[in-house]
């Protein structure tokens, strides 16, 4: 894992230019261009609001109002996590030419994916903050936001490394992943309050690193306090373990990557 961090640090200039290229290229050619970075989260918000306040009614607790701000606090970071994983599962195959033809540390590619999605998340954050301000819900606890962001970054990077290397050899993973993420989404308290869960389900929830991360976001953004320290610390440990496993698997498969893609 230390080796991984060294490589990423050594290639930081390349990573930063690839991330900015990724952001520039993403909306290049579309009429609204970079505005899409802001429109996308807005449309996401609109869709979920339609579905879950008009069509479907989720059992509400007091903490969950206004509901659109509640689920948006969790949905925005979740989008970062889910897109990172989905994209990184194919990033090595898409970037096969680079791995095969250019002397290039392959771990740069999934890292760029995760960081580009982080940048998108950060671009969506002002929209959420704007709505919070409108509702008069801004609080000092927002200053703690870097903490769950770092924890999520570590965990996401670990998963992304693991998935990107394995998918080269097991293409099926890409298909399975979409469904796993769908299930994981519902198993994470994004659309509902964790407090409404009871018994075994509540206990199982403790094992979900993303659950603690999302709860932390909800507290800091909407509730105006933060007391989920233990949960977030647990997620950090899980993140470090994931990064260790991801780095190890990636390193073991490194030599086979250029043949597999």
């Amino acid at each position: 894992m230390i080796g991984l961090l060294q490589v990423l640090y050594r290639y930081r200039a390349l990573i930063s230019s690839l991330v900015s290229r990724e952001l520039k290229a993403r909306y290049r050619g579309s009429v609204l261009g970079f505005l899409w970075s802001f429109i996308n989260p807005l449309l996401l918000l609109l869709t979920y609001t339609l579905v879950f306040t008009i069509i479907l009614r989720v059992p509400q607790t007091e903490r969950m109002s206004p509901y659109y701000l509640f689920f948006f606090s969790g949905l925005l970071p979740w989008t970062w996590f889910a897109s990172s994983l989905l994209e990184s599962s194919s990033v090595l195959i898409a970037g096969g030419n680079l791995i095969k033809k250019v002397l290039f540390p392959a771990e740069v590619l999934p890292t760029v994916t995760v960081l580009a999605n982080l940048a998108n998340f950060l671009l969506g954050l002002p929209i959420l903050l704007g709505f919070l301000a409108w509702e008069g819900r801004l609080s000092v606890s927002l200053l703690l936001l870097p903490l769950p962001i770092i924890v999520q970054l570590v965990f996401t990077l670990g998963c992304a490394l693991f998935l990107s290397a394995l998918t080269v050899h097991f293409r099926d993973l890409g298909n399975i992943l979409a469904h796993v993420l769908q299930l994981w989404f519902f198993a994470t308290p994004i659309l509902y309050d964790v407090e409404i869960l009871q018994g075994t389900v509540r206990q199982l929830m403790r094992l979900n690193p993303m659950g603690h991360v999302i709860i932390s976001y909800q507290q800091m953004l909407l509730f105006g306090y933060f007391d989920h320290w233990r949960g977030l610390a647990g997620s950090l440990v899980a993140g470090i373990v994931a990064l260790g496993i991801g780095a190890f698997v990636f390193d073991r498969l490194r030599d086979t990557l250029s043949e597999g893609v």
Binding site: A13, L14, S17, L18, R21, K24, A25, R28, G29, N97, L98, I99, K100, K101, V102, L103, F104, L166, H169, F170, R171, D172, L173, I176, L253, D255, T256, S258, E259
Partner: protein
């Protein structure tokens, strides 16, 4: 060898053989049978390189030739560090830049300008270094007018030119070139070759993989011939290229002859001097011997065989040739080399537009050089009989030598016919003894 840029010892590379369906193993089956680990270990392998050892001295231009699938590109990838050897060691000293896939990292949607920066960083430059070289790169690619357009609007030639320009401006210590010179029009190819020659002059190491054999013979100091992942031959470019041509043209039979010839080449006649020779110029003899050069004589203007000549003397090269069976495709050639291996002159009957008709039995070929015009030194002569396409019948490399002795100790290799003249207020005493014969001057009136 202390000053080697690349050292390869028993390098082998195995690839997993891709067997259609077998390749797409599923995670499920891997998990069910518990074969995750063994699936990742190659079951059936293909040996792309098999125990290859060589050194490439710093500053030399090293050619790699061979048929398709002989392992050339694999070797280049190993040197570039893109792949690792399955066995053996390979050490490369210094920054490597590989002209393998030009513009591999370009993103079609963004501009040439941004791609140059990212590609440069990818190839190991810092952002500042790329920016410092930016104008030079764009000028080299001749894309000044298009550099802000997205790369997807480029023609394939423009794309490759930009890729080449970035890769060549990385300032590597070791430059790897893989058959990429078919990049643009004639003029751009010329420019690329000039750039590669410039690298050579600046003492950089170049590894050159190509099917353009003429280029190999011209640019390389040393050539490695790979055949099915093994070293078939290595050494003097002309000899190895000829041996390769013989192999490709003549198949097994001719190959044995060429091998025999190259073993003979290991036992050259002793030269008159033990002066050091640069490059890969080593005496030797090879070819299929359908036409044999059975004797080489150097004659003076009185038809006496000699080995020492004066700079202005005439020299006649006489070849005794023999063909067991009638031959209709034959060319006789001569190459003249200085002691350090510098190629001074070369010509043949084909270059000078003689049309071969028939050769059977024995004959004599004479080449009359009226005036040597060489300075003092030892010279090597290559003589050859070969097909028009270059396939050698009998190639004698450096087996004939002669010496030029002169009383005038001028330097270099070539002595043009010349005369000093002084006018105005310059007083200069003429030499007491004028070396008329030496200079080969026309008797003045």
């Amino acid at each position: 060898m202390t000053d080697a840029a690349i050292v390869a010892r028993d390098v082998s590379k195995l690839y997993r053989r891709h067997l259609g369906r077998h390749q797409f193993r599923t995670l499920k089956s891997a998990l069910l049978t518990g074969s995750l680990i063994s699936d990742l270990a190659p079951a059936e392998t293909f040996t792309a390189l098999d125990g290859v050892s060589f050194d490439v001295p710093r500053g030399s231009t090293f050619g790699v030739i061979g048929e398709n699938g002989s392992g050339k590109s694999t070797l280049l990838k190993l040197v570039a560090g893109i792949a690792r050897p399955s066995a053996g060691t390979l050490a490369v000293d210094g920054r490597v830049s590989a002209l393998i896939e030009l513009g591999a990292g370009f993103h079609p949607e963004i501009s040439g300008r941004e791609n140059v920066v990212i590609n440069g960083i990818m190839l190991g430059l810092t952002r500042r270094e790329v920016e410092a070289r930016f104008d030079e790169i764009v000028a080299f690619a001749e894309l000044e007018d298009f550099i802000d357009a997205p790369v997807k609007t480029y023609s394939s030639g423009m794309y490759m030119r930009l890729g080449f320009a970035v890769a060549i401006h990385v300032e590597p210590d070791v430059l790897l070139v893989d058959e990429v010179l078919a990049v643009g029009d004639e003029a751009f190819t010329r420019k690329c070759l000039d750039k590669i020659s410039e690298f050579h002059r600046r003492g950089k190491t170049i590894v050159f993989v190509t099917h353009t054999l003429g280029l190999v013979a011209k640019m390389c100091d040393d050539v490695l011939w790979l055949r099915r992942g093994k070293i078939a031959d290595r050494g003097d470019p002309q000899r190895v290229v000829d041996a390769y041509l013989t192999y490709v043209a003549g198949g097994e039979d001719a190959r044995l002859l060429a091998q025999q010839a190259s073993t003979q080449a290991a036992l050259p006649e002793a030269g008159p001097d033990d002066e050091p020779r640069a490059g890969g110029y080593r005496p030797g003899r090879w070819g299929s011997r359908e036409v044999e050069i059975s004797g080489v004589r150097l004659l003076d203007d009185r038809n006496q065989e000699r080995r020492v000549f004066a700079p202005g003397e005439a020299l006649t090269l006489s070849l005794a040739v023999r063909a067991e069976r009638p031959v209709e495709d034959f060319v006789f050639g001569l190459g003249l080399f200085a002691a350090d291996g510098t190629h001074l002159y070369g010509t043949n009957t084909d270059i000078e537009a003689f049309q071969p008709r028939r050769l059977e039995g024995t004959g004599e070929v004479r080449l009359l050089i009226e005036d040597l015009r060489l300075v003092e030194g030892t010279y090597f002569v290559d003589v050859a009989a070969h097909r028009k396409d270059g396939t050698p019948y009998d190639y004698h490399r450096g087996l004939t030598t002669f010496r030029v002795k002169s009383r005038v100790k001028d330097v270099g290799v070539y002595r043009p016919r010349h005369r000093w003249a002084f006018e105005g207020n310059i007083t200069m005493d003429a030499p007491a003894e004028r070396p008329e014969l030496d200079l080969g001057e026309e008797p003045s009136a």
